[in-house]
């Protein structure tokens, strides 16, 4: 890499001689048939850039030859440290044309490499009608090598949709788990963890709910309504509100991240901001290990933390509770997978203290029988 860089630097310094061999490019954009002036200019700029690229290549070759002959160049007066040599052959050619000894290289911005510079360097301006030129740089001219795109959009010549919309509004309803939870005590519970979204590729509206009932009585109930925006290929930022209905009514603002972590862990991590400065944090993650094409073993982990005690809600500050479960699923179809599983949960700190005071267990193991489904 170092060798390559130094060759490029040599190229910058030696190339004027090499460039002199290149004839100026003649543009024939003055003809009336070239109705779309910007289009024409666009092309002209790009062709100039192409020429410049060739020139740069040639210069580079010359430089290499020169380097082989031990030609010495005085680099000591140049600040090469701030130059970005990686992109844009066109830019190299531009730089190659100028006298480097008089330039303060430290202030050069090499990154975007406007094609106009290349144009200026190479095009024979005497043959162009400058009065009609739009000198405002077209945005895509910043792209160092052509993707061929026109500066302006040109309307479709005919009505009529060409294709289906690539990004239709879709919805998905997910029952992540609907399960009976059997314990060794007499109290069995029924729990639902469900989500739904409606929207497009990058913007969605999400609903999430967690319900848990014991002996037919709703013990826990919460609902989240979130705006979800794709942040990167694998992660969505989710902002919105959460309302707890049971065991006590609470309102929260939600900031969450949902996505897939390396090693294919599904992650849903959120911060909840409640009244009086209460902050909650929740992490839910699941991994699906395929045993066969239809059967999967899925470990999952859930953690809740709070910044303050909330006795009414049965919450103590710090790490509140943790649950770890293992589910063995069988996909009868992609959308429908019954499972059996086991869940181990434990309360910690203040939360555990509250449970103990109420005479409840702080740790529990449950057998799960449920179904996962989506539509």
């Amino acid at each position: 890499m170092k060798v390559k860089l130094s060759v490029m630097v040599l190229g910058l310094c030696i190339s004027p001689a090499a460039l002199a061999k290149h004839k100026p490019m003649t543009m024939d954009c003055s003809q009336p048939m070239h109705a779309k002036m910007t289009f024409c200019k666009d092309l002209a700029a790009k062709e100039a850039k192409q020429k410049a690229t060739e020139a740069a290549k040639e210069a580079k070759q010359k430089a290499t030859e020169a380097a082989k002959k031990n030609t010495t160049v005085d680099h000591s007066k140049m600040d090469h440290s701030k130059m970005n040599h990686a992109p844009a052959p066109a830019k190299k050619a531009t730089a190659a044309k100028v006298d480097h000894s008089k330039m303060d290289h430290s202030k050069m911005n090499h990154a975007p490499a406007p094609a106009k510079k290349a144009t200026a360097a190479k095009v024979d301006h005497s043959k162009m009608d400058h009065s009609k030129m739009n000198h405002a740089p077209a945005p895509e001219m910043k792209i160092p090598v052509s993707d061929g795109a026109l500066a302006e959009n040109i309307p479709l010549p005919f009505p009529g949709a060409m294709h289906m919309e690539d990004d239709p509004t879709l919805y998905k309803l997910m029952i992540d788990s609907l399960e009976y939870q059997y314990t060794d005590s007499d109290i069995d519970s029924l729990a639902l963890d469900a989500e739904a979204w409606v929207g497009k590729d990058l913007h969605k509206f999400w609903l999430k709910t967690d319900l848990e009932s014991e002996d037919g009585k709703l013990e826990e109930a919460e609902l989240q309504a979130l705006y979800s925006r794709a942040l990167d290929p694998y992660w969505d930022l989710q902002l919105g509100i959460r309302k707890d209905f049971e065991p006590v009514s609470r309102e929260w603002a939600v900031v969450g991240f949902k996505g897939t972590a390396p090693y294919m862990f599904d992650v849903d991590a959120a911060l909840f901001f409640g009244k009086g400065g209460q902050v909650g944090a929740r992490l839910k993650t699941e991994y699906e290990m395929m045993l066969t094409q239809k059967t999967a073993l899925a470990p999952s982990l859930g953690i809740n933390m709070y910044s303050k005690d909330d006795l009414e809600a049965g919450i103590g500050s710090g790490l509140s509770d943790l649950d770890f479960s293992l589910r063995l699923k069988h996909e009868f179809k992609r959308e429908f997978a019954p499972y059996i599983g086991v869940n181990w949960s434990k309360a910690f700190g203040g939360t555990a203290d509250i449970l103990e005071e109420e005479g409840e267990k702080t740790s529990d193991t449950q057998l799960l029988l449920g179904v996962e489904a989506w539509f």
């Binding site: 092309l43 192409q50 160092p144 993707d147 009529g160 990004d167 590729d201 094409q293």
Partner: protein, 578 residues
């Protein structure tokens, strides 16, 4: 010139009327009481010949899998009739739309005026329900082509057919008989449903995901640590090395001339005959690997254009929308024309037989291909063995690439973001690579490096500029684009009339993309500039780079896109030649 058409009748293509071929594929809608496509063993394909054609687009109930489904059909046929015409003639095709939605027919690979190209919005306004659009153009070329709807997902549901244009001069390839072998993929699911499923769960149709058993097997063969280490990159990137096809045999039934694998298409011959097989991949999403066990193939044309014959070929891969013509000279007996889907989730098949009662055994499919680092655009020396010493650095690169834009080796900026999950680090030109699943399989497999034009390159000018496009996407979000910009957000590509341009395509995704430029030839740079093969559809292998030259000799607005139907809405550009 006389030749045998596929229904074994002698047809004179110069006759000035069209001949209704035997519609014996039993599309008896309106006649048969059930209105079903019956499973028949006939090899008859509807064929229309001449210079004037009438096509009616309609909706017909078919039953290809045991379930009744509504298909879109042409003259009540799926595939539509084969159109046989003659080079040099003025062609008139009246297309009447009897469906309830707007439609269109695009003549794939035909060089014709832009307003006859059949792309709604670009060429014309489409054909509205009840309307007839008359296409008129001169057949300026000869060879094997095809046609299909360019509206919505109608191609997936059956609106496609083949075109054979007889050469005005004597054909440079001698043959006694020719058959069109049109491959396609049929689903009982509605295309909109398939697309929605892919968006909700991109690996929905994957039938061969990695399991614990695979890890156990790998651990047994190379040790647990190495097995785990080898998974590192894939796990870091949250990708599967088995992501070969988005839509698979889970939902698709693969058809040969409209026949399911259980029915099978049959072509007969007399021993000693030279048979020209005109393979057309009219599938919506499926690449096929084709071989005829017991027969060597001589490949004589691709995308309708004659090439320098490539002999002794055992197998070739046909990308979606490509065509290949091969010559076979079978001895008496029966041979299976075996077209396995690239992901080995199913196959299409036919039989060539000298005795209609005789069938050949059907080979078993090859193992499912597994993507390698080469397919990920990482040059790691050999294709299958991998050097993991540089792995850490690579993962770092991958992890750190999610900033605004990333510059590839070529200098084009790919707009990064949620829509792009990968940029090939070191894409290579891999013309001589037969592709994933065909490497070192013991058979002689055709590659792009073998393909040279039969005739010298016409336009010898060097390209005046290069247009570089990255084929980009996010598999898990199921989003597709060029340079990270989908069609809806893109500006047209401008070409100046008469200029010669190099297109360089870099595939930043894990799957093969067949890229089709309408209206002009794509002259694939396969090594000999004096004999550049002219193609209409170029397959870009995953992680690979490929280039071709285009002379912008056709004014107007043209479509340029990936021909996989569920990619094309995003992976699409408008090309304006002015």
């Amino acid at each position: 010139m006389k030749y045998h058409s596929s229904d074994d009748r002698v047809v004179d293509p110069t006759r000035r009327q069209f001949v209704q071929g035997l519609t014996a594929s039993a599309f008896m809608a309106g006649l048969a009481p059930s209105g079903l496509l019956a499973a028949t063993a006939t090899s008859h394909q509807p064929v229309l010949s001449g210079n004037t054609f009438d096509l009616t687009l309609g909706e017909t109930v078919v039953n290809l899998t045991g379930k009744r489904r509504m298909a879109t059909t042409i003259n009540d046929s799926l595939p539509g009739p084969t159109l046989r015409m003659r080079e040099g003639e003025e062609i008139t095709i009246r297309v009447t739309n009897k469906m309830s939605v707007t439609s269109s027919i695009h003549w794939h690979g035909l060089i014709l005026p832009a307003n006859m190209d059949g792309v709604p919005g670009l060429s014309f306004a489409g054909i509205k329900p009840g309307e007839t659009f008359t296409y008129q153009f001169k057949a300026v070329q000869s060879g094997t082509y095809w046609y299909h709807s360019h509206s919505g997902y109608q191609e997936q549901t059956g609106l496609y057919g083949s075109i054979v244009i007889e050469s005005r001069e004597a054909d440079v390839v001698a043959y006694d008989r020719d058959y069109v072998v049109l491959l396609s993929d049929w689903s009982d699911e509605k295309p909109e449903q398939i697309y929605a499923k892919l968006k909700k769960l991109s690996h929905y149709y994957s039938t061969k995901e990695r399991t614990l058993r695979d890890l156990a097997k790998e651990a047994a063969s190379k040790g647990f640590k190495k097995a785990v280490d080898d998974r590192e990159m894939w796990n870091q990137m949250r990708m599967s090395d088995r992501d070969i096809s988005d839509v698979t045999g889970w939902t698709y039934t693969f058809l040969t001339n409209g026949k399911t694998p259980s029915e099978g298409w049959t072509g007969t011959f007399k021993p000693g005959e030279k048979i020209r097989l005109r393979f057309i991949n009219a599938a919506a999403m499926t690449f096929f690997d084709i071989r005829i066990p017991g027969l060597k193939m001589q490949v004589v044309a691709t995308d309708g254009q004659d090439i320098q014959p490539v002999s002794n070929i055992d197998e070739f891969r046909i990308g979606v929308a490509e065509t290949y013509d091969v010559i076979v000279e079978p001895n008496a007996g029966a041979y299976t024309v075996f077209a396995q889907a690239i992901d080995r989730s199913g196959y299409a098949r036919g039989t060539l037989t000298s005795n209609p009662a005789q069938q050949a055994t059907i080979p078993t499919m090859d193992p499912m291909p597994i993507l390698t680092h080469t397919d990920m655009g990482m040059s790691m020396g050999d294709m299958d063995g991998m050097d993991h010493s540089s792995m850490g650095g690579m993962n770092h690169d991958m992890a750190s690439m999610d900033h605004g834009a990333m510059e590839s080796s070529g200098g084009v900026q790919v707009k990064l973001g949620p829509q792009v999950d990968m940029v090939a680090m070191d894409p290579q030109v891999r013309l001589d690579d037969p592709g994933v699943g065909l490497r070192n399989n013991g058979r002689k497999v055709l590659t792009y490096a073998d393909i040279k034009n039969r005739f010298p390159t016409i336009d010898n000018r060097p390209p005046s500029r290069e247009i570089e496009l990255h084929l980009t996407g996010n598999m898990s979000r199921y989003m597709w684009s060029f340079n990270g910009v989908k069609y809806a957000d893109s500006k047209p590509i401008g070409l100046r009339f008469g200029e010669r341009v190099r297109f360089t395509l870099i595939n930043d995704t894990m799957m093969n993309h067949p890229v089709h430029l309408h209206g002009m030839w794509s002259e694939l740079e396969t090594g000999d500039n004096n004999f550049l093969p002219r193609k209409h559809t170029i397959v870009v292998q995953p992680g690979a780079k490929i280039s071709y030259l285009v002379t912008a000799d056709a004014k107007g607005q043209w479509a340029y896109h990936c021909h996989l139907i569920y990619h094309m809405d995003g992976m699409f550009r408008r090309v304006i030649v002015a």
